[in-house]
């Protein structure tokens, strides 16, 4: 049975889809059979970030409604054989995402995959509930910024009370913190909440810290998950995150500003 991971946050624009793309690609590259599902019905974007937008024929809602079968809707990634994308519908209403329908699709996928990554929409409405309801693990994507931290805390409350695991008094969802858009220089200057500050408030297991990076926009421009950009700091940080998720003990990087030499400091190298 596949392990279901929800990428959630409450707040929009913090990096959920970037993270879902990076995590699913990272898992698949390590040989795990992985499918990533876009739950943002009406505002589908995962296909763009994954670079498969022109290959979408059928979507998640089509499968739920029985208008297409899973094999017709799943898009195999061209870079990695064990990765599939299930896109959201761009035209349907989000109420088409029924709990029974979602459960059926997840069960059907469960036999053939190791991991199912659910990319949650922002907010705490129906789509976000459906994305997290069946989850085994949750990665809470948070920016070091007050509204994002607050919304993450709210989302943690929902995970621990409104999920299937909570409602059926099963072992609770494993919750992880992923801090994104981290600017070590601003943290050092006391302008930005530090990892420790956020950890102190949310008290979650830290899965990774992804620095603010130009590579993220470059990657989304090109439709290439940023984890494939191994030269970049963000790509490496996501790589570490995947290793940690799979149980490796990898030290955290990119927490402190790069030490510049005296000369480059003077000449603003």
């Amino acid at each position: 049975m596949a392990r279901i991971i929800v990428i959630t946050s409450g707040k929009g624009g913090v990096g959920k889809t970037t993270t879902a793309a990076a995590l699913s690609m990272g898992l698949a590259q390590r040989g795990k059979r992985t499918v990533v599902i876009d739950f943002d019905v009406g505002l589908r974007n995962l296909d763009l970030i994954m670079g498969c937008e022109r290959r979408v024929v059928y979507d998640f809602i089509n499968v739920i409604n029985g208008e297409a079968n899973l094999n017709q809707a799943l898009i195999r990634d061209k870079r990695c054989d064990s990765l599939y994308v299930l896109p959201a519908s761009q035209t349907r209403d989000k109420d088409a995402l029924t709990r029974e329908g979602v459960e059926r699709v997840l069960n059907d996928l469960g036999d053939n995959y190791d991991f199912i990554v659910c990319d949650s929409p922002a907010g705490i409405e129906h789509g976000a509930y459906m994305a997290m309801y069946f989850a085994d693990d949750a990665i809470v994507v948070t920016n070091p910024e007050v509204s994002s931290v607050r919304d993450s805390d709210r989302m943690l409350g929902i995970l621990s009370s409104r999920s299937k695991r909570a409602e059926e008094s099963m072992e609770p969802i494993r919750e992880y913190l992923l801090l994104t858009r981290y600017d070590p220089m601003r943290v050092a200057n006391g302008e930005m909440l530090s990892v420790d500050d956020v950890q102190e408030i949310l008290s979650l297991k830290l899965l990774g810290v992804v620095p603010e990076s130009k590579a993220v926009l470059n990657a989304s421009n090109a439709g290439i998950p940023v984890i494939l950009d191994r030269e970049s700091d963000a790509g490496q940080a996501y790589g570490d995150m995947v290793s940690r998720y799979l149980g490796d003990d990898v030290p955290h990087r990119f927490l402190h500003p790069e030490k510049k030499g005296l000369l480059s400091r003077i000449f603003k190298g």
């Binding site: 007050v146 805390d153 709210r154 006391g190 400091r265």
Partner: protein, 93 residues
């Protein structure tokens, strides 16, 4: 410019304590949110129904019933506070 920056920015800025302000505000806010979140979801309906029962016998205001819920370490306290109008006792209902 670069040379000047080196001497200025290498000292910790004393004026920048923005992150600590953010952290303090968040700690208060999150604590407050968590208290509200832990309340059982049936409280508003409970309040409505208790009020309806009371209003069958006594004419009380809609806001005359307050329900508070507190969670302590080993037990929960559900407190009902009903303000009866002064004339109710006199009318003997």
């Amino acid at each position: 410019m670069g040379l000047l920056d080196y001497f200025v920015s290498s000292r910790p800025k004393t004026t920048a304590g923005n992150a600590s302000v953010a952290k303090e505000r968040l700690q208060i806010l999150v604590a407050h949110d968590r208290v509200a979140r832990d309340k059982p979801s049936y409280l508003p309906q409970l309040q409505q129904e208790i009020l309806a029962v009371i209003r069958k016998y006594v004419e009380v205001d809609m806001d005359a019933v307050s329900v508070t819920y507190e969670q302590e370490e080993s037990h929960e306290v559900l407190e009902l506070n009903i303000i009866l109008p002064e004339s109710a006792a006199a009318r003997g209902v």
